[in-house]
């Protein structure tokens, strides 16, 4: 029991560390990608190629003076970003970061915990995620913040439904709610290639809906209306400064990392990779390779997030709502019906 607990604690610390590191370096990557797309150099002063830029930013967040507006609600002003950050970190508990490792005669699972309602847990955390922004935006007692928070919460709840419906279509094909099992199922072979039976093959439309909703839930362009700088100054974090602003921004990048990980696990096979059982490698080596592949997929998705941000313009609010309610929800319902009929007919 004690050994089990120590394993888990080490794993929890490692997952936190990796999540934070990824979020930290996503900020750097975002600026470099933006620079690349806009034909600029990007940050290049702190360290070689500006590689120390995120650390410099972090130090700045720690050392800058903070203002809490006199008319703000102090307690909630502090609570807002804290809730944002905590909910952003919570999801990584159920993501299978890799298969099991066999070390010192023990089997160590690289998933912190395989809840049998894993997907619903993710869904619950997403639905809780609204509060951080809402509390923060309201507590600021600033018109821009309130408008931003209102937009953000309306947008997030609207896209949550389509996201839930697209997950349901996925659950219909997998028959389980546990993320560990879903990833394991994708290990099956297709056309003789093992480890390539990814859910994207069975749920292309569902994936598209899920991805669009993930963009909206992360408040990333083209859905970044909550902080659209040319009309709302800074949106919900207009009044925030210092580390609290850092938390809001950091939560956004953490969310991006986590949703990339979830998309990779649900639709792109997670730690499975083609030919994984046909190479004849040892179990541990395959696990390590699989984790590497998972992170490669995550990096790919993060790049996609950034690519879209620097390519597409922002939606107008009525367009955003129309897309959420009048396109994605009916489409997700149709996806469920098609999936159901196909399963019934084919079995």
């Amino acid at each position: 029991m004690e050994i089990f607990l120590i394993d888990k604690i080490v794993l929890i610390v490692a997952v936190f560390g990796i999540t934070l590191l990824f979020a930290l370096y996503s900020t750097y990557a975002e600026r470099k990608v933006a620079a690349f797309i806009q034909d600029r150099l990007g940050p290049n002063r702190a360290g070689i190629f500006g590689i120390l830029q995120p650390l410099a930013d972090g130090v700045k967040f720690f050392l800058k003076e903070e203002f809490i507006p006199a008319h703000a609600d102090k307690a909630l002003f502090i609570l807002g970003p804290s809730v944002s950050m905590t909910t952003a970190l919570m999801t990584s508990a159920v993501i299978p970061w890799g298969n099991s490792l066999e070390l010192f005669d023990r089997v160590i699972s690289l998933q912190i915990t395989d809840l049998n309602i894993g997907i619903l847990y993710v869904f619950a955390v997403v639905s809780i995620g609204v509060y951080g922004i809402m509390i923060g935006g309201w507590a600021s007692n600033n018109k821009f913040s309130l408008l931003g928070a209102l937009r953000a919460s309306s947008q997030m709840i609207s896209y949550e439904i389509a996201m839930g419906l697209s997950i349901i279509a996925l659950v219909m094909t997998t028959g389980t709610l546990s993320l560990g099992e879903i990833v394991q199922q994708q290990n099956g072979s297709i056309f003789g290639i093992s480890g390539a039976s990814w859910n994207i093959i069975y749920q292309p439309l569902g994936f598209l809906i899920f991805m669009i909703c993930a963009f909206a839930e992360c408040n990333r362009t083209p859905f970044d209306l909550p902080e659209s700088e040319n009309e709302l100054v800074g949106g919900y974090h207009t009044e925030y400064s210092s580390m609290k602003l850092g938390f809001f921004l950091f939560a956004e990048y953490t969310n991006m990392f986590i949703s990339s990980a979830i998309m990779s696990s649900l639709y792109f096979g997670g730690y499975n990779f083609p030919f994984m059982d046909q190479l004849g490698l040892s179990h541990n080596l395959v696990t390590i390779l699989g984790t590497t592949f998972l992170f490669a997929k995550i990096v790919m998705f993060i790049f996609l997030f950034m690519w879209v941000r620097w390519t597409l313009p922002r939606f107008r609010y009525d367009q955003l709502m129309r897309m959420g309610w009048k396109m994605l929800i009916p489409l997700a319902l149709i996806n469920i019906i098609i999936t159901g009929l196909l399963i019934v007919v084919l079995k």
Binding site: K8, I9, I12, F16, F62, L63, E65, E66, F67, I68, P69, A70, H71, A72, I78, S82, M85, T86, M90, A93, T113, L115, N116, W138, S140, N141, N142, K143, S145, L150, S154, I157, S158, G164, L165, I168, V171, M172, G175, T176, L177, V233, E239, M243, K244, F247, Y317, D318, M321, R322, W325, K326, I329, L333, I336, I337, G340, I343, V344, K347
Partner: protein, 168 residues
């Protein structure tokens, strides 16, 4: 059986541990930054931002009804989604399908389609009534009528570009 229960309970315990460490992390960072950063407030710094003007009134006020209606409809759909989850897990169950000779699948899909259809009816109702429409800026068509006929401009364009309008 007791073991099954305990193993799931310990999984939840780990989740709890995870959430606690998340809260600890946030708190720790907050406190560290509070210790490190300077604190020199003055009245100007503490005013609400309103583009450099003195803030007018309070931001805590009433808002457009549409936000409430969206939230109301959202709750209903959220409950629907939650109802669909147990169905989705048992729907493709091979054992059940085999036991009932494939009848189970048709039966459960039929039941669910009725459920979805009734809710889709609700969505259609809200849609038809225009509650999902957001306020749109009206497109203004210019009222100005030029005395110069349009044809003249086109003639000039074709003459000087050397191409027809369609080609351009």
């Amino acid at each position: 059986m007791d073991q099954v229960k305990n193993s799931q309970l310990s999984e939840f315990g780990i989740i709890f541990l995870f959430i606690i460490s998340g809260i600890l992390f946030a708190g720790l960072v907050m406190i560290t930054s509070k210790v490190l950063r300077p604190h020199r407030p003055n009245e100007e710094k503490l005013t609400s931002y309103e583009c450099g003007e003195d803030p007018v009134g309070n931001a805590w006020g009433q808002f457009n009804m549409r936000f409430y209606i969206i939230a109301l409809i959202f709750i209903l759909f959220e409950v629907e989604v939650v109802f669909l989850f147990p169905w989705a897990t048992v729907f493709g169950n091979k054992k059940l399908i085999a036991a009932t000779d494939g009848l189970w699948a048709w039966f459960s899909i039929g039941e669910m389609f009725i459920f979805i259809a009734i809710l889709a009816l609700g969505l259609a109702y809200a849609w038809a009534r225009g509650y999902l429409d957001w306020v749109k800026p009206d497109q203004e068509i210019a009222q100005f009528k030029s005395p110069v006929p349009k044809k003249l401009y086109e003639n000039i364009n074709t003459k000087y570009s050397g191409k027809t309008t369609i080609e351009r």
